[in-house]
Symmetry: C2
Subunit: 563 residues, 2 copies
């Protein structure tokens, strides 16, 4: 009777209504119908609760084989380290309609009623789908029929590749981000140069290699005052945030769903950039103060990362999001962003790279070293996240309780001392009773402290977990491009390909290589600044905390002096 | 096959070899033969280990009835609140030979080979047995046969009372401390006035009622340098402590067994005084540093209490213990103390009380209020002991572990940051790594901290647990005496007793009342001083601790300044 499912990814519960699930864990599903993208069920530890529908695969007799069908990687395709590349989907991605925000059925006046943004049919060979969630097979319409496909690699169930070929073998793993991002098509020269490209993002050589040229009009933006708003005479509620960019005088007000719209635009457009994840959604408690506070703190960090990024901060859609205060203009700008053609692989056409020669092997080594680093950093960020989360629990639970128990025990001593009045010293009893109260206060201070230090640490760590989880796919793009260069060079050496064409592939691969290096460079710069700030802030708050505790105790100690 | 036993008292395990047992808990005994006074067995929670043999009663079919035989209290005897009065025996009491110290088979040169001190046959009607352990029925030889015993209250199994009677009914509960301490006999005038009484202890009226007159030659005494000594060519080991009384230039060296000898003398002699318990024995780990350190700290507190007590500090046996440095003199002094006739009830003859009138009812009210106080204080001391013990465990375990885990996580972050050298900042990595080490240090500081604060608190609380556990018996003596006064007055009113005799009883009861009030007064004075000191010391050490933590963090924070 009970439906079974298998967890595709790890999911960590963040609320008491949710349950954690482990990759490959078998689950019991109470109903196949998801509620706002959440399913209710039971995990193997017997816990029952909610988990994201998209994190699990419902087990049916026929489904298991079709799943594994997609995972075989044909020879000649770049080595795809799937354990590293395939990451759980960002829970913020809502372009499947099932993962909508808390107020998705509550249409904004600005909204045109379409939350599932249509794929921008910007041209053949491009597809702006950087999400690990794939619902539809990617279609590459035939365009350059001069090459015959290799029959041995032909896949009958593929709608696309049979119609088009190239001397350089195509990667038949349709789940490879190299393929679905369109970067393969770009490398092979299949993404046509547009007649007029309005945008240009520059990469220049810095002291540590390629770097994004700074935004000529840098700015920051505050996120403040999450405020509960109602509409339809109070039937619908939502939270609006006040955003004030530093280069503009008056603020705009945005809802999480607007952030989410923007986020999806960013994902579509910026193929080779690590777009910061939005703070997580949660199934319940959307209007609880702690949740709103947490979302605000994380939106601030997200915004800081956006404005600090030389490319993202200049994106027209972002500027529109930050400045538009007119309903009609909003709709126009929104439509414009959604019709943007320079997304996905075409975005690579907007990049202006230095002419400087870079040895491909050097770049590959650099990327490998970044890959190892980012894997290790991902592990250590997870480790610190777990420790810090556990510390939060200890602060709210164990630590508070211990100090409260101590406080109560002191008060009990004081109380007993009052029971034999002729021999009792009021001053001493008061001092001991006050010591008891002080330790209760210290217990409360412990419980409050995470708001001052650990929460900020966890926010930063969460941002970095998101950024780091993007890199495997981005690195995979570069790996794929490199493989194509090597293959084309080999074919050119063997006389099976024009040197011109091989040079074209190499040239386009440089664009991918430069952009990845610029992105690595930017990541490192931000990481150093962010972790320095995070550590400093944590230590400062800890120092203040321990000083406050000792000051509390000092004041209490004074009470014993006059006895 | 397995022997069963029933716990007579609560016993709290203090070592991993020991198990806790609860009063009335049924236990399985592995062997009836005790090892150094400890039995091995299993409690009802399935824990196996050691517990004191004297805390349990081995269950045999015939034993259960004989045990309950003793508990019925005949009419006319003072109400005996057994739940309050009957306390577990102090584990230090070793006069049954089964509870010897760690080195009991290792005779000191001074020792005459007799650890089981003979009952000083000081005279009829006295018995210096304040311990709740009773091995022998107490014998009251006939002396005043002018009164006929009441046949209805006659007990055939009693060796004593049948031969002697009094108009005032005797308490037939031979386990009553009122009876076995000899105070009943004293009140009834059965303790003869000695021809020459060398000692005299004075009670005077102070602002808060009767108080012991201060020792005219006050002193303190240090307990230092626990040193492991060997004898018999290293076969036997023991720890010696250096004692230096403030009024004497050169120290003496004493072992725990000497303390124990003295303690047993004090118990025999000072019926109405709350003798501080010696620090507990333990079955294992006698020579472990922590245990030696703990015993030393507790001997210091014990010594402080001894020297602070106006009566105890003047006791000849104590003076002998503190000053004798000659083998022969030691034996002589020891023998003298053991032959002391002014012990138990006779000790009451040495008390000189003020002539001031006290209303008996007032005294009784005062005692009742002290009784309620001491019960409540006992509870709160136990509560604080439990909380503090748990805090010690947390400091050594959970707190240390949390900070170490945080330290490790920071170090892992720093380690990951070193993996991409061209983009790596050594200064930042070092700062983060150092932060990790700092939190490991903070973890160690947490683990070390109980030595600075909680241990001292637990030492003080342990001393007071001992002192408080003495009071129910002492209060019971006074209650018994009061009952006798009322009874004799009634009989005198009814013409069944000479007024002279009734007056004698009332007069002797005043001695008991004054001494108890002096003892209550002394207890309160010490309690106020000790708890003030304990709380001050705890707070001071806590302040130092939190300041040290924040200083550690401050130094670490500086490392981020120059990045």
């Amino acid at each position: 009777m009970a439906l079974k499912a298998r967890a595709l990814y790890n999911f960590q519960s963040e609320n008491k209504e949710e349950i954690s699930i482990q990759e490959n864990e078998e689950l019991v599903i109470f109903s196949e119908n998801s509620l706002d993208g959440w399913l209710q069920g039971k995990n193997s530890r017997g816990e029952t609760g909610l988990f994201p529908a998209s994190y699990v695969e419902i087990l049916r007799s026929r489904s298991s084989s079709s799943y594994t069908d997609y995972s075989n990687s044909p020879a000649g395709s770049p080595g795809h380290d799937s354990s590293f590349c395939v990451h759980p989907p960002n829970t913020s991605i809502s372009n499947q309609g099932s993962f909508e925000d808390d107020d998705d059925d509550d249409w904004d006046d600005w909204d045109d009623g379409c939350t599932v943004v249509e794929e921008p049919r910007s041209g053949p060979g491009t597809n702006g789908h950087p999400s690990p969630h794939l619902q539809y097979p990617v279609v590459y319409p035939s365009q350059n029929a001069g090459y015959r496909p290799k029959p041995a690699l032909e896949r009958q169930d593929s709608i696309s590749s049979s119609k088009r070929g190239s001397v350089v073998g195509r990667n038949l793993n349709r789940f490879s981000c190299f393929v679905r991002s369109g970067v393969e098509a770009f490398i092979l020269g299949d993404v046509p140069l547009m007649s007029k490209i309005a945008e240009a993002y520059y990469i220049e050589m810095g002291s540590k290699g390629p770097q994004w040229r700074a935004n000529p009009h840098p700015f920051i933006c505050s996120v403040e005052d999450p405020t509960k708003q109602t509409k339809f005479k109070g039937i619908k509620s939502y939270i609006s945030y006040k955003l004030t960019p530093s280069n503009i005088t008056s603020p705009v007000y945005r809802r999480y769903k607007h952030f989410d719209w923007l986020y999806n635009r960013l994902l579509h457009k910026f193929t080779v950039i690590s777009v910061p994840h939005l703070p997580e959604k949660q199934a319940t408690g959307r209007f609880e103060e702690d949740f709103i506070e947490k979302r605000k703190r994380r939106l601030i960090l997200w915004m800081d990362h956006m404005t600090s990024h030389p490319v993202l901060s200049q994106y027209e859609g972002f500027q529109h999001f930050l400045t538009c205060r007119d309903d009609k203009q909003w709709k126009l700008g929104k439509r414009r962003a959604e019709k943007d053609e320079m997304v996905g692989a075409s975005f690579l056409l907007t990049l202006q790279i230095p002419t400087e020669h870079q040895d491909l092997q050097d770049v590959e080594d650099r990327v490998d070293s970044f890959k190892a680093f980012s894997k290790k950093m991902d592990d250590s960020v997870l480790q610190l996240t777990n420790v810090a989360s556990e510390l939060v629990r200890k602060h709210l639970g164990g630590f508070r309780k211990e100090f409260q128990k101590l406080g109560n025990a002191f008060q009990a001593i004081s109380h007993s001392f009052q029971m034999d009045p002729p021999y009792s010293s009021d001053a001493l009893n008061n001092a001991i009773s006050h010591t008891g109260k002080t330790y209760e206060t210290v217990g409360e201070m412990f419980a409050e402290q995470p708001k001052n230090d650990l929460f900020l640490m966890l926010d930063t760590l969460s941002l970095y977990q998101g950024l780091l989880s993007n890199f495997p796919d981005i690195i995979h793009l570069q790996k794929g491009a490199f493989a194509k260069v090597k293959e084309s060079q080999r074919m050119s050496d063997e006389g099976k390909m024009d040197q011109d064409e091989a040079d074209g592939i190499r040239k386009r691969c440089r664009v991918v290589g430069f952009s990845l290096q610029a992105e690595m460079n930017h990541f490192h710069e931000r990481r150093m600044a962010d972790f320095k700030r995070m550590m400093q802030s944590y230590l400062k708050q800890q120092i203040i905390f321990y000083q406050r505790v000792s000051q509390q105790l000092e004041r209490t100690l004074l009470m014993y002096d006059n006895l």
